[in-house]
């Protein structure tokens, strides 16, 4: 496979992933929403969840977008060290694919210059789309996941530089405070992504990684997995409920990603993903074979 062909294949895949993610939400999310509807006892909360389930069905039937907010396109890439296309070209392919999907569908274009607020392109611009990179030793493949991130939930992002003496208790308290303060604005019930450790910027990066995981997957570190369980239970005791109208189900899940940190740091970042937690993935082999994967 020559690199230019691979770049075209990846551009096609990105265009497909963006639209697919917007229209057809993953099965784990569908299951989590159906479970939420079984648990919810408040009248407005139940009304919201039934409307959400109806909406997902209408999006399927009409091949329409689940939510009008096409978001900012965020991609996470796991690149094998022997994948034949350089990450600089991978980035250009993802950008071109995002543009094509936006123009061809057409999708609402949300991208603006952050000061002038003028539109910068078909969901692209300077440093847009956003790509998270991970490099994998001794592999020749590429995994790419598209996570269109809506602004309603992204606006509910929070960072606190806790001190070591605050401990895990400080982390829990900050996450609770953030989600209660956010109320109905980020379209609950969704996925609460928490990033802990590292540095200020890396904690938020990890929080975004956390929201992109399939619902209910647990951090491989048992200490962190326990924190996920505890936060999940605590958050659902707050009573914020679906769309902040009060109820039993405030979050579908809480995912935590961590990094080791400095002995005097204890950063905690919260990134919210709305109930329409859209994501779509593909595995690209070195020979250009693309395997679209609903579960990843």
């Amino acid at each position: 496979m020559i690199a230019t062909d691979l770049e075209t294949i990846l551009e096609d895949a990105a265009a497909h992933l963006y639209v697919w993610a917007l229209k057809d939400i993953p099965q784990d999310l569908r299951d989590a929403l159906a479970d939420a509807a079984k648990k919810e006892t408040s009248v407005p909360g139940q009304r919201v969840l039934q409307t959400i389930l109806r909406n997902v069905q209408v999006a399927d039937d009409q091949k329409n977008l689940v939510c009008q907010d096409t978001g900012i396109a965020v991609y996470t890439c796991r690149v094998g060290e022997r994948f034949p296309l350089h990450p600089a070209r991978i980035y250009q392919a993802l950008k071109a694919g995002t543009e094509r999907a936006t123009i061809e569908h057409p999708l609402r274009s949300n991208a603006v210059h952050t000061i002038t607020r003028e539109n910068t392109g078909p969901n692209t611009g300077y440093r847009l789309p956003i790509v998270h990179w991970e490099f994998v030793d001794d592999w020749d493949g590429l995994d790419v996941k598209c996570v269109p991130k809506g602004s309603g939930s992204e606006n509910m992002s929070f960072l606190k530089m806790c001190v070591p003496a605050d401990g895990v208790k400080g982390i829990k308290q900050f996450v609770l405070e953030a989600i209660v303060g956010a109320g109905g604005k980020p379209c609950p019930p969704g996925i609460v992504g928490v990033g802990i450790g590292g540095s200020a910027d890396y904690a938020m990066y990890l929080a975004k990684e956390a929201i992109a995981r399939p619902i209910g997957t647990r951090n491989p570190d048992p200490v962190v997995a326990q924190l996920e369980e505890e936060l999940f239970e605590l958050l659902n005791e707050t009573g914020i409920g679906p769309m902040g109208l009060g109820g039993d189900v405030t979050v579908l899940q809480c995912h935590v990603e961590h990094a080791d940190t400095h002995m005097t740091l204890n950063p905690v970042a919260v990134n919210y993903q709305c109930w329409a937690a859209r994501r779509a993935s593909a595995h690209v082999a070195a020979d250009g074979t693309v395997d679209f994967d609903r579960e990843a």
Partner: protein
């Protein structure tokens, strides 16, 4: 919690007074789409809106649309945005233009309660993100003003069975958002003590 059907624009203020926080409402008739830049133009830049807003139902939206050859617009995907950013326009919308209902997602903070009570207005909570369904309830885009603000123009939609909406803030001083937040703050104290 009662259920109601209301047709907008309304002429009888009692239509609003009968609605109570938590009630379910389905809307018929015509609604007006509005957003941040539209309201900044009206109130901060002092430009009179070219549509009659008396008795109106405003929807916080920036729709996804497709322009037709005849200059009109077809709907692609129409959903609702977060209201809290636009709370400061509540009072002048009611006082100066006679708007009677504002619909969005996520609610208004408490500063909206007093003007809504004084001016006989309600806030309707829609399900944020449920745009595929919402699009089917919008029959037609009848009018578009200020196209240069695309997609934050002033839109006139004809709707059928728009909802279900929940009365989030009523015209009697009651707000679900206030009540839920007060209960959650009390609960937080209890949870912190357990950590």
């Amino acid at each position: 919690m009662a259920t109601h059907e209301v047709t907008f624009p309304i002429t009888d203020p009692d239509e609003i007074l009968k609605l109570r926080a938590g009630d379910e409402v389905t809307v018929q008739g015509h609604i007006i789409g509005i957003r941040d830049r539209t309201q900044i133009r009206i109130f901060d830049q002092g430009v009179e809106p070219p549509m009659d807003l008396r008795g109106a139902f405003l929807l916080h939206t920036a729709p996804g649309v497709k322009k037709r050859d005849d200059g009109g617009y077809d709907k692609v995907c129409i959903g609702t945005t977060t209201s809290a950013r636009m709370v400061r326009f509540t009072e002048p919308l009611g006082e100066r233009y006679g708007v009677r209902a504002i619909c969005g997602k996520g609610g208004f903070p408490d500063e909206a309660i007093e003007p809504m009570q004084r001016l006989g207005m309600v806030y309707f909570a829609i399900v944020g993100g449920a745009a595929a369904l919402e699009t089917t309830q919008i029959e037609e885009i009848e009018e578009v003003a200020w196209e240069e603000l695309m997609p934050e123009c002033l839109w006139k939609f004809r709707v059928k069975d728009f909802g279900p909406l929940t009365v989030g803030i009523d015209a009697h001083g009651s707000s679900l958002y206030h009540d839920v937040q007060a209960a959650a703050q009390a609960k937080l104290k209890e949870l912190y003590a357990r950590l």
